[in-house]
C-alpha cells in the first residue's frame, strides 16, 4: 500500500516537473535575478510540492514557487543585499534565435539583461504578473489566485508593468 502510494507520488511529481520545471525556473530567475539561486529555489519548490503533486495545477505550482522566492528575497533583504541581474554568468543562457547571427544573439542577450533589470525595479507583485502573463502565458484567473486579487487587478498591474518596462527599455536604447 505504502509502496503504491510512494510510486504514485513519484510519478505525479515527475509529471509536474516535466510540465513546469522550465517555466518555474524562468519565473524564479525573473524574481531573484540569479540563475544559481533560481535553481535552488526550484528544487525547494518541487520538494514542497511532492506530497500534493497529484492535484497540483499551474496556480499551485507558481504559488509555491513565489513563496519560495519571497522567502529568499526576505532573507536577502535582511542581509541588505539584492542579487542584481547584471551577472550574465549566473543567468540562464540567452536565446540562440536566430542562431547564425552573432549580432542578434548579442542584442537578444542585452535585451534579456535589460528586461531582467527592469523587472528587478518593479514591485514584486507587478513582476509576478508581468512574467507569468507575458512570458509563461498563465491566465489572469490563475495569477489572480496566486496573488489573491481579482482578475481586473491583474489586468491593471500588467498594463502598468508593461508601461514601466517600455520606458526602461527606451532609456536603454531598445525599440519600444
Amino acid at each position: 500500500m505504502l509502496a503504491i502510494s510512494a510510486r504514485q507520488e513519484t510519478t505525479a511529481l515527475d509529471r509536474l516537473m516535466a510540465e513546469h520545471a522550465v517555466g518555474v525556473f524562468r519565473y524564479l530567475c525573473a524574481m531573484v535575478g540569479n540563475g544559481d539561486s533560481a535553481r535552488d529555489l526550484r528544487q525547494d519548490t518541487f520538494l514542497k510540492l511532492q506530497h500534493q503533486a497529484d492535484h497540483a495545477g499551474k496556480a499551485l505550482v507558481y504559488t509555491v514557487a513565489r513563496n519560495c522566492a519571497l522567502d529568499y528575497l526576505r532573507r536577502q533583504r535582511s542581509r541588505n543585499r539584492f542579487e542584481s541581474t547584471t551577472d550574465p554568468e549566473t543567468l540562464p543562457p540567452t536565446s540562440t534565435l536566430p542562431a547564425h547571427n552573432p549580432d542578434h544573439i548579442l542584442q537578444s542577450k542585452q535585451l534579456r539583461q535589460d528586461i531582467l533589470q527592469a523587472l528587478a525595479t518593479m514591485p514584486e507583485e507587478q513582476r509576478t504578473v508581468f512574467h507569468l502573463s507575458e512570458i509563461e502565458g498563465v491566465p489572469y484567473h490563475d495569477i489572480a489566485t496566486i496573488l489573491e486579487v481579482s482578475p481586473g487587478t491583474i489586468a491593471s498591474r500588467k498594463h502598468h508593468a508593461v508601461v514601466k518596462l517600455r520606458k526602461f527599455l527606451r532609456s536603454r536604447g531598445h525599440a519600444s
Binding site: 510512494a6 528544487q43 536565446s95 534565435l97 508593461v162
Partner: protein, 143 residues
Amino acid sequence: MRPEHWKITLEAYIDGELPPQEAASFLELVNTNPAMAAEMKTRLSLRQDWQKALLSESLAQSETMAVPPIHRRRGPIPLWIPVALAACLVLVFGVSRQLSNGGGSSYQVTIAGQVSALRYGERPHKTLVLKTGYLELPAASSR
C-alpha cells in the same frame, strides 16, 4: 474609451482574456483607429521580442535535461523491520521484568500499609514480609 482603459483592454485582448464578443468589438474599434492599430502592432512585436529574449529553445532543452534530482522520500519500509523492533521491545521488557521480580529484590511496601492490612484482618502476601529493622511482621499471621 480613456487611453489607459483602452491600453488595459489591449493587454487583455492580446493575452486572450477578453470574451469572444468583447474581443470582436474591440478589434473593430482598433481597425477604425490607425493610432490604436499601430499601437497594437508595436505591442505584439514587443511581446515577440521579449519572449524571444526570455524564452529559449536551448534553455528549455538544457533545463529539461538538467532538472536536478530532488530528495525524495525513501521507498516503503520492509515488513521485517517493525516485526524485529517489536520483538526486541518485548524481549527487553520481559527480561527487565524478570530481573526485577526474581533477581533477589523484594517488594517495597510501607510499614503503614502492612500494619493497616493486619489491623483489618488481611493476610499479607508471603513476599510482603518486612525487614525494616524497626518492625518485623510475620508472613502469615493468624486471626
